[in-house]
Amino acid sequence: MSARGLIARRARATMSRLAGGMLLRSTISAITVLVFACSVAQSQPAERRPITGTVGELLRAATSSARVAQFADTMPVEYATLARQLDALGRRGLDSLSLDAVGREWMATEGPRTAPLERIARWRRDDVLALMTPAEAVALDSLALVSSQYLPDLLELRVSVDSANTLFAPVRAFNRARRQVSLSQSLEKLRRYERKYGPGSPRLNAAEVGLNFVAQNVPPFQPSADGWPSPLELVASYVPTYLTVSDGRAQAWTVLEGGVRLYMFDPAWGRSGIAGVIRPSHIAAGLAVVNEVGGALREPWRGDSRLGAFLSWGGAKIAIVGGDGPNVLVSRQVQLIPWVF
């Protein structure tokens, strides 16, 4: 065998060994990863443990914890705050209230208005909280805050961690109930973002991208400080797909739209099928402008433009423009060319 043939045979053998080794290693890796992925998938969440306890238990826990922790001696100013809240929560009717129910009512889930009780109480004086007065709710909030900020550290200096945990459990149960509400609210925010930005939401053209970019800095259009999306979006569109009847025949007209789109965040709106036609996920309204003689792909701003209004109800649109004889135009929400119209 020639030297060249020998080298070629050796190269083939080497490649074959390498390929075999790689194949074996890849197979082992794939199996390992697969087995691991299965084991991770099996790591299912445990059944949720209910939140138990009453406001009375929470008050007694705060009192006992403060005594055991020698809170009054160690931090007299902070203890005075705690004592004031305990006094404010002395009404007997509060004693048997479930911590879970109170915790869930804590933020009075009203979307973007969701806020700590202190703020709710300041804004609203009516019975937004069915279980307790706003003053009591604020006191409970403050009591949980002061207790959590100071008592665990002090308790663990005086008693074992287990004893401290037992003593302090009702305060933590209250915090847990409120955290669960907060989690639900985060998911609600994401549901709203999906409605406004997710699949199925109206696409924006270049002008709208620019306008809405600027509008992010204007309060009605920007997300709230704690992350609730605004239901509003600016509309500025050149729509060549309107249809109208003019001179006794159907014609395509181009309309310049400028207005505001309102996203309907209520879960009852934006469903599929006929329910979604009646209650769509978004509506829009604003100014409609057409060319003085109407027609397709005409510049609406040329000559004596005809002004009117448009209303978009989900995917369906209607516009009425004035002039010599008012015209009624209909269309559908559609973007024919990305970024353009």
């Binding site: 691991f36 790591s43 806020a115 961690v161 669960q180 800095n217 990305p338």
Partner: protein, 320 residues
Amino acid sequence: MSFTPQSRSWSGKRAVLLVHGIGNSRPGDYAELLHALHSLLGDDRDSVAVYQLFYDHFNDWFTEKTNATELLESAVKSLADRIEDPELGRTVAEYIGDILWPVLSANARACVREAYLAQLKQIVDDGENADVSARQQQITIIAHSLGCFHTYETLHHAAKYSTHMLQPASHEVRFANVIFMASPVQLIRTVAERLGPLVPNRRWLETVQGESLFIPFETRTNGSEVQSVRNWISVTGDLDPVGGHFFRRQADWAYMNVPGQHSFIDKQYPTDVTNREELISRLKSSALNGAAPAISPSDPHSWQEYIARHTVDLKQWILV
């Protein structure tokens, strides 16, 4: 695609959250990374609940809604021209696409942050469900690349707003470790500062707040501060531009240097050959087999490589 935070059953008091970086990740990705993490935990792996945060589909919503590919490309060009520092201009051009969304869209930023917050609330609740109070929980976050930015934003937001019930003092949620791998937070801060008024809702972009980057904290009623993170760690490589290094030179404007952080800067190599002996061995092997030397270029930004280089550290941090 609605978002559901991952929920796990805890059999110990520890949890790890992995937050990926630039890319297009979906649930089910990073299986090899998870495997590496479980391997390094060894016998303790069953006592650590591992979570992953996937957020790319939110970015997809915004990209599709605005047909943004063209917008991003033009923005990249305009920015590269505008920034006088050629080094910065080049870096911006490379990574701008993934970074632009959260900086330029207040909604995109808020949306990803909310998903992150939801995941953190779920983790804490899972722990409490297993009778491990928030105070006793040992939660470690390992973030890579852009995931570091979202981590920085989210932790600051959580410490600031009580409605999330994740504050370190009032709600006893203090993270045991937050490990930033190849963090672009300082780079984003620099870019955002140079973009000036182009950045919407600047007051809610935590990355640009303060005199410099800082560890999030809550101020108690008596004025004392409690930090959200016990152990703030930054790991980067000396060839990783996202982590603020350009050809082994650290750039102050790009390297995240938070007061109080523990810093690790890995020695990296352009190829997978890391020393002279290894090079000789591979060349010999190549000569014997009659094949080309088996030398591959290395990826200085690889998350898996960062994990592999710090298996011992990670085990120690997570299990401390």
